[in-house]
Symmetry: C2
């Protein structure tokens, strides 16, 4: 879906998103979407060629929202901490959409131009333009987030403390330390 959505397409995407957020990916069936709209499942194929196209539209919407939240956070006095908080809280508010966006390859050809970059830019900026450090920071945030969403941490883990520890470590370029060679 590189083009703008028609009115009916937008309605379908909205219905799909409500199902996704309420019941997870397995709740998003063509039948269920159609039922939400009061039509029959085969009718959806007049608006989207297949289910994947619909999912790409969901992912695109997620990036747009993330970009907004991240840009706002990056204006904070402490951008890295604020970004981490925004990252975690957006994902926690939309866990199933977050997983849809991160757990499989991005179909970049089916996304509107620039949406991925718009969400990533505030993170790179907060890392002083260091792309490698920004990817490390993203990986840390994604790791914390996905393990929390999957309920994979031990029950006694202090997640706030783990976030703080990681953010503190990643914040500044440190004085050089014994460095790995490969």
């Amino acid at each position: 879906m590189r083009e703008r959505l028609t009115g009916r397409q937008a309605e379908i995407v909205d219905a799909a998103r409500e199902l996704l957020e309420a019941g997870g990916p397995e709740a998003v069936t063509m039948r269920a979407i159609a039922e939400s709209l009061g039509i029959q499942a085969p009718s959806l194929y007049k608006h989207f060629p297949d289910k994947e196209a619909l999912e790409s539209a969901l992912v695109a919407a997620g990036f747009v929202e993330q970009a907004e939240a991240f840009v706002a956070a990056s204006r904070s006095r402490n951008p890295l901490t604020a970004l981490a908080r925004a990252y975690r809280s957006w994902a926690t508010a939309h866990p199933h959409l977050y997983l849809l966006m991160t757990s499989r390859p991005l179909e970049r050809d089916r996304l509107p131009e620039g949406v991925e970059a718009a969400a990533a830019a505030p993170i790179v900026k907060a890392c002083g333009g260091d792309a490698d450090r920004a990817r490390a920071a993203w990986a840390f945030a994604h790791g914390m987030t996905s393990l929390e969403l999957a309920d994979r941490f031990p029950p006694d883990a202090d997640l706030d403390a783990a976030w703080r520890s990681g953010i503190d470590a990643l914040r500044a370029p440190h004085a050089t330390q014994p460095r790995s060679t490969t």
Copy 2:
């Protein structure tokens, strides 16, 4: 599956694991497992109460293998770097089992005692016993790994450099820096 596996159970788990590693989770059907063993699907239910019990046995085997690899790595001169390499390479060698182990809640009641702790211990040790820092390091490693397995990094990303950047940041307790308050 808290008890030790019988011979036939072990054969079934081996067959399931081969299917998993070769074809991903959707290849692991009761029918396919049975076919690998030359029996019919319903016969499997004489050995395992349901599919979940079988999956727990797979996860347990994964933890045992990880523990071995991590203990060996932690004896290196540079434990954190060696552990990171071991983590990434074990996951890359067994991507579907790794995902099975990390992307949903652990059924700790169905796992043999201590297997989770055995895999985690070398990481905690490499972080000087700091559990929060260890969880941050785990999250970083899991984030890098899962994003790589999901093919979610942009095509031009230098993953080795991102790993290095994160490891360097997480390595030492730094001199105190401006610290986040919450």
